[in-house]
Every structure is written in C-alpha cells, then in structure tokens.
Amino acid sequence: MPDSSRRARTVRRLLTGGLLLLPLLFFALFYFYPLGAILRLGLWPEGRLDTAALGQMFTSRTILGVLWFTLWQAVVSTLLTLALAMPGAYVLARYRFRGQSLIRAVATLPFVLPTVVVAAAFVALVGPSGVVNNWLMDALSLDAPPIRLSQTVWIILLAHVFYNYSVALRLLSAYWQNLPPSLTQAAQMLGASPGRAFVEVTLPLLRPAILAAAALVFTFTFTSFGVIVVLGGPRFATLEVEIYRQAVNLFNLPVAAALSLWQILFTFILMLFYTRTQARISRPLRLGARRAIERPVRTGREKLLVYGNAAAILVLIGAPLLALVGRSLRGASGPTLAYYRALFTNRDDSLFFVPPAEAIGNSVAIALAAMLLAVTLGVLSAQLLTHWERPGGATGRGALLARLLDPLLMLPLATSAVTLGLGYLIALGRPPLNLRASILMLPIAHAVVAAPFVLRSVLPGFRGILPSLREAAAMLGADGPRVWREVDWPLIRRPLLVGALFAFTISLGEFGATIFLVRPETPTLPIAIYRFLGQPGALNYGQALAMSVLLLLVCVVAFLAIEHFRIGGEEF
C-alpha cells in the first residue's frame, strides 16, 4: 500500500475519531465542569475543605422546614398521582373502546408541556380570576372569589398530579398490558374472588411498575421548581426553590452550592432506585399481543369503569388547558383578542419591559440553536455508542465503554435544571470560560438538558442499522454514500425528527436553568410568562395567559408530530 494513502487513512480515522469524541468533550465542559464548580464551592469555599455550608442543611430551621415541605409534598403528590393513575392504567391496558387513542394521547400530553404553561393553566382554572371562580361569582353573585386555592399547597398538589399523571399512567398501563389476563383468570378458576385475585396476583406482579412510577413521580415532585414558584408564591419553597433564592435573591452562592450538593445526592439516589426498578420491569413476562388482551366494553359495570376513567382523564387534563385557552380569549366585557394583540404592541411603562413578541423571537431562536446542538450531540453519541457496542466492530473494551457511556450521557436527565443553572452561573460566568454575555449560554444549557431525550429517540434507529443490512446493500452493488442514503438514512430519519422535536419543545419550555442564566433584556417566553403573571393588572394577566396558549399550541403540535413519527421508541 502506498505511503500517501496510508497517511490519508490515518488522518481520516483521527478525524472521525475526534468528531465522535466531540460529545464527550461537550459534556465534560458543559455538564461536569459546572457540576464540579458547585462541588468545589460547596465543599472548598475558601480553598480548603469546609463542610459548614453542608451542615446548614440540618441546623438552619428555615432549611429544615424547606426539606420537610419538599419531602411531604412529594410523598403526597406521588400517592395521589398513583391512586388516580391505577384505575386509568387498568382501563387503558385491558379494554378496547372508541376514543381510546384520543384518551391515550390526551393523557400523555402533559409530559411535553412546559411547567410555566401548566402553572398558568391552573391559575386560569382555579386562580382568583380564573374560570371556576368567575363562574361561581356570576352564578352566586358573590363579590369575592369563593375558591382560594392560589398560593396554597392544594393548587401545587393539583398541578403535580396533572403533570405526573401521564408518566404514571404510561408506565403502569404499559406494564399492565404485558401481564397476561390468564394469570388473574387462573387465580379465579382456583377459587379466588376478583378482589382476592387482584391482591394475590395482580398487585405483586405490578409492584415493579408501581415502584418505578412512584420513584419517577417522587423525583419529579421532589425537584419541582416552576410549579412552586408560579403557583405557591413566596410562602412555599422546595429545595430547588431555596437554591434559587439563595443564589439569586440572597446571592449566597456557597449555601446554594451546598444545597445543590444535597439535591444532587438525593436525585442520584432516587435515579439509582428508579433505574434498578426499571431493570426489574424488563423481567421476562411473556408479551401478549395487545389485540388479544384488550377486550371490548360490555357490561354496565365495565362501561361505568371505562367511561368514568376516560371522563376523569379528559377533565383532569382537559379542564386546565381549556380554561387557559378560554380565559386568554375573555376580557372584562366578553370575548376578546386584546391580550393577543397586546403581545405585539410596545408598552414602555416599566424599566425592564420587553415586548412579548421579542420574547417569542428569543425563544424560537434559542430553541432552534439548542435543537441543532442537541441533535448533533445525540447523533454523534448514538454513533459512538453503536460503534462501541457492536461485537467485532470493537474489542471487549469498546463494549465496556459503551456500557459506561450510555448511563453517563443520561446523567443530565437526573440533574435538576436549577442545579445545572447554578453550576453555569458559578462556573461559566468567569474565566477561563466566561460565557456570561454569550448568546450561546442558553442554547448550550438547553442542549445539555435535551440531549438525553434525543439520544433515547435516535438510539433505537442507530441500533436498527445492522451491519448485515449495510453489507447486503454493498453486496447488491451500492457504494458508500449510496448505502448511507438507502439504508442508514431511512432508518434514522424518523427517530431523528422525533429527537429534534423533543429538543425544540424542551428548549422552548425550559424554565429552571433559564431563570438563572437569562439576561433581563432578552427573556425567553417562559420567563416572560412568569414575569407577567407576577405583575398586577388584568392586561398583564391576560398577556401571560395568551403567551402560555401560544407555547401550548407549539407544544401540542410538536407532541402530535412526535406521537406520529415515533416507532415504538423507548420510554423514559
């Protein structure tokens, strides 16, 4: 082989190798480095080990109170969510009825909704001038809103249930579907009443799924931020909110960092628990064909059960969203588009006023950039993973690397957005890597948050490109680029689109990290909604709702597209 061609090959190998290592570099710089900065600030504030800030967790009454609230609201939210999701999951897993796919879709919708939109929806439903209170005041001629849920723990719990219902429902019903109905029937044939059969057979078998759902919902509610900040007001603080207050309001970075470390520890333990239960979920239960297991609704009791649950799902998920849309279209004197029109007019009665239209522009630009980044990262990571996983393609060391890399790339999923925001604030706001003023700060942060979703979406596609497929194409006469176009691309096209949509919507709605990093003069849409909700006046309120509706619409469209294009993708 001539020397020059060998050199060219070496160069090409190095280039592709370098390209593939790019995601690792990116995660090192924009995930581990900021987290490391939190660790340093929390443990070595003055250049030496100092655990005083860490200890504050258990000495400060305020912080103990915060921890207690964080804990119990998470427990209650989890229990409520599971209690509601169990019957719904049973109905979706066992029955076949008209409108089922609609119910399924509606029940999944909250998963992709930004926290701020959910919060705004609950404000529009049960807030002081929300739909329910307006009706009641009209109907009973009251002067003051009779339902005062706003800034109470009830509205927080309600929003948490709304948010997590879909997660629990999906996990439970997917698992329940795989339980052969013959098991409970066998129990009945052996003399167990339906109730006894449920306790003896169904419940123990569902346990892994119940545990996994509980772990996931608990993690989400334990790290709840946007819902608490918008709906709870100043009286309520979870650990996340406290981190934010310490860092941004009190500028007490060491305490914020210490709290973050605890938070990281907690979420890490929770995620560990979740992944372990997840692994148990995939215990081999024979998969039954769905059509064979689902049965039509026949008796009156079945009808009550199925349609009762369908109605509950529609009301639970639909009511706040409809209230949001309805309330945004209704002024003091009837239907109006005034709030939407006001989004595009300039008012400069406030110092920091930024026209909402500009926030929309910011959000879209940031989301596009974040999407591009996240997709690039996701694709390169997937490429890297499949390359290392492949037997023969790499040595045993490669398979080991892949096994390590996969969970590593999923870590951002287990990191709270607030922690990430704090890390960026500490680490990337000063040399050697000062991005404080860079317009890339937010897209990068959002890309880190979204990359795991992209990876989960595209990985099955990449794994589907079996070497034998490419070899077959080559044997049939396709050259390199042709193989890519005919085999690789069609297989990854749809997963790629799904990943991109995920990244776009996640960035569009991202709140926890953004609120740390956003500059006052260039807010994103969620930040603008949050600010407008916090201001008095019907117009501000209406505009917040109008912006939420726009965000909601984009998310719904993206969600529909995702559902349409996903091909039995992995669950999160």
Partner: protein, 352 residues
C-alpha cells in the same frame, strides 16, 4: 346421566356473527371430551363460557343438574389449564400448586400433603422450592396440571394445554395427560386444534366449525366416517371432489365414475371423499379408453417418502389427488398410474 349439560349456547362478539351458535353438548362423569377445530371456530369461547369467564348471550350451562348462570368462576369449583399455563411468576412451584387449596381455607398440613401428592403424581417431587422461570416448558406444563388438579375440581377444562410446547414434547405429554386424568377419574373438557392430540386424549370428540358442532363421536368412529366435508378436510383428508349421483347409486366426477359401499339415498349433486389408501396400483400404458369404476388414472406429479409409506400426488382430470402407497413405490415423476380404490374407502356427502 350427563354431569355437564350445555344447552343451545350462543355467544356473539360482533353483531351478526356468532362465535358460538346454538351449541348443545353432554358430558358424562369421568369422560374426557375434546373440542377440536381450527382457530376461530369458537371452541375456546365455549370453554370459557363453561368456565364462567365469558357469559353466553343465550342458552344454559348446567352442572349436576344445577344452572350455572350467575355463578362466578371462582365459585364453580372447576379447574382450568391455560394455553400459556398462567403460572404465577412471583410464586414458586409449591405456592402455585397450593394456591387453590389456600383459597379453600385448607390447613397448612393438608396443603403440604396435597401439594406433595400432586407433585409426585406429575413426577416433580422435590420441585416445590423452584421458581417458575427456572422450569422447562414441559415442567411448567406439569406444574400447571398439578395446580389445576390440586383442589380436586369437579370438572377440569384444558385450553390448548400443549400448544406452547414443541412437537416431540407434545407427543409424549398428551399420553401422560390422559393417563393422569384417567387415574384421578377427572371429567374434562379439552380444547385443541391438533387432531393427533385430540385422538390421543379424548374419549369423545366434538369437531367444531364456525361456532357449531359438526360431529360428535369416539375418535375411531369420527376418523372412519367424517360426517361432513369440513370434518374430512380438517382431519387431513384432501381428496374431496364434486360429483353427480345417478339413479343407480353411481357417482360421476371429473376423474372417473365411482360406486361407494354406501350409496347416496337420492340422485343429485354430491361431494365425494376418496380416502388416500390405494387398494391396487399399476402402471397405465396409455390414455385409458374404458375406465373402470372405482379406478383413477393419472400422472405422478410428486412423491414423498414418509417412512412406512409413500405419499403420491396424482394429477387426474384437472384435479390433484393424494394417495398413500407402500414405501416400495418406485415410479418416476411423469409416469402414468392406475389406482384402484375399494368401495369402503369412498364416502359421499349429499348437498344441503
């Protein structure tokens, strides 16, 4: 006196098509009845109606003279073996077999003794502590049988109990299952789509098609004289020809004229079943001018050696007929043969 009486049971899932259409059956104490039929014929639905897992739209199921309408499955004292065995994966072998006894509030000592007895009966002594996932398919099948029999059900239902197993295992277990059921004197309804299995297990067969029973009888009788073209085809007979019966009991078909041992009662359109056993076989010199009754002349299209016999496909009169001949068969594809068939190998089905 019948122990189980099924009377005019009808069940339809989709309006207009009945999964089970007016079925009536009697099962005597200690009898094993096989419901045999292709998938979708309604045999499993009928079984589940008897079990109480489905309800009939119309008709009655009576056990020991008592109407079972409204009696939930767990109160019927029946046992059932499922196609997927439905062993509880979170319980070990002992707890699976003990389940039905526990539901009947048996004492610990009773349970231990009965489970041991059942496991011994299915040759699984010492397997009590094993997890279900550790068992082979055949072992799972035997645990399922032990579990179903342990509480001493008054009737056992088996829904394709060997369907999940491979062929060799199935062949062995079908004999075992019958032996065990007979040993405990169990009355059983056994659902299968496999005729070999049905023949091996059943005292009586009920062949089902499209929700109805086409024929009931002991296996040899059913095999000897399939009552309908459907039953004949389902039992593996391929040579069914349309024909016209004349006044003297002879039948004209596209491959020749035949005179069966029991001729049709009246002239008209019929379907003729030619069983595959050839009485006599010889090379035919050329196109036969005079074709004798009960003989077929055709060209060998394909032949397959099957061990003790050979299968020969013969093209005749635009039809493709299958015959079983001695394994010494040494003709080539394309050879012309003349096959004679004895009259008792011919069955006639009158139209309507």
């Amino acid at each position: 006196m019948a122990l189980l009486e099924v009377r005019d049971v009808t069940r339809s899932f989709v309006p207009g098509t009945a999964a089970v259409a007016g079925v009536s059956l009697d099962i005597a104490p200690g009898e094993i009845l096989c419901l045999l039929g292709p998938s979708g014929c309604g045999k499993t639905t009928l079984l589940r109606i008897i079990a109480g897992l489905e309800t009939a739209d119309r008709g009655a199921v009576r056990f020991d003279g008592r109407d079972l309408a409204g009696v939930p499955p767990h109160a019927r004292d029946f046992g059932m073996m499922f196609q997927d065995f439905a062993l509880f994966p979170h319980k070990n072998v002992f707890d699976n077999v003990a389940f039905g006894l526990r539901m009947r509030q048996a004492s610990r000592a009773e349970i231990a003794a009965r489970v041991a007895e059942m496991l011994a009966m299915v040759d699984l002594d010492g397997f009590g502590a094993r997890q279900i996932a550790q068992l082979s398919g055949g072992e799972q099948q035997r645990v399922a049988l032990a579990r179903a029999l342990a509480p001493g059900p008054r009737l056992l239902m088996l829904d394709e109990p060997l369907g999940a197993l491979d062929r060799a295992l199935r062949e062995r277990l079908m004999v075992d299952v019958r032996a065990i059921l007979k040993r405990v004197g169990m009355t059983a309804v056994y659902v299968t789509h496999d005729q070999t299995e049905a023949f091996a297990v059943a005292d009586r067969l009920a062949v089902m098609n499209a929700g109805q029973i086409e024929q009931v009888g002991a296996p040899p009788a059913v095999y000897e004289r399939p009552a309908t073209p459907f039953v004949a085809r389902f039992l593996g007979f391929e040579n069914l020809l349309p024909g016209v019966a004349g006044g003297a009991g002879e039948i004209a078909t596209a491959v020749g004229r035949f005179r069966p041992a029991s001729p049709p009662s009246r002239p008209g359109k019929v379907t003729l079943l030619i069983k595959p056993a050839a009485a006599q076989l010889e090379a035919a010199a050329g196109p036969a001018d005079v074709v004798a009754e009960n003989t077929i002349t055709g060209v060998v299209e394909a032949a397959a050696f099957r061990g003790r016999f050979c299968q020969v496909w013969l093209a005749a009169g635009g039809q493709r007929l299958l015959f079983e001949v001695g394994s010494e068969f040494d003709y080539q594809i394309g050879d012309r043969l003349r096959i004679a068939i004895s009259p008792d190998q011919l069955l006639v089905y009158e139209a309507g």
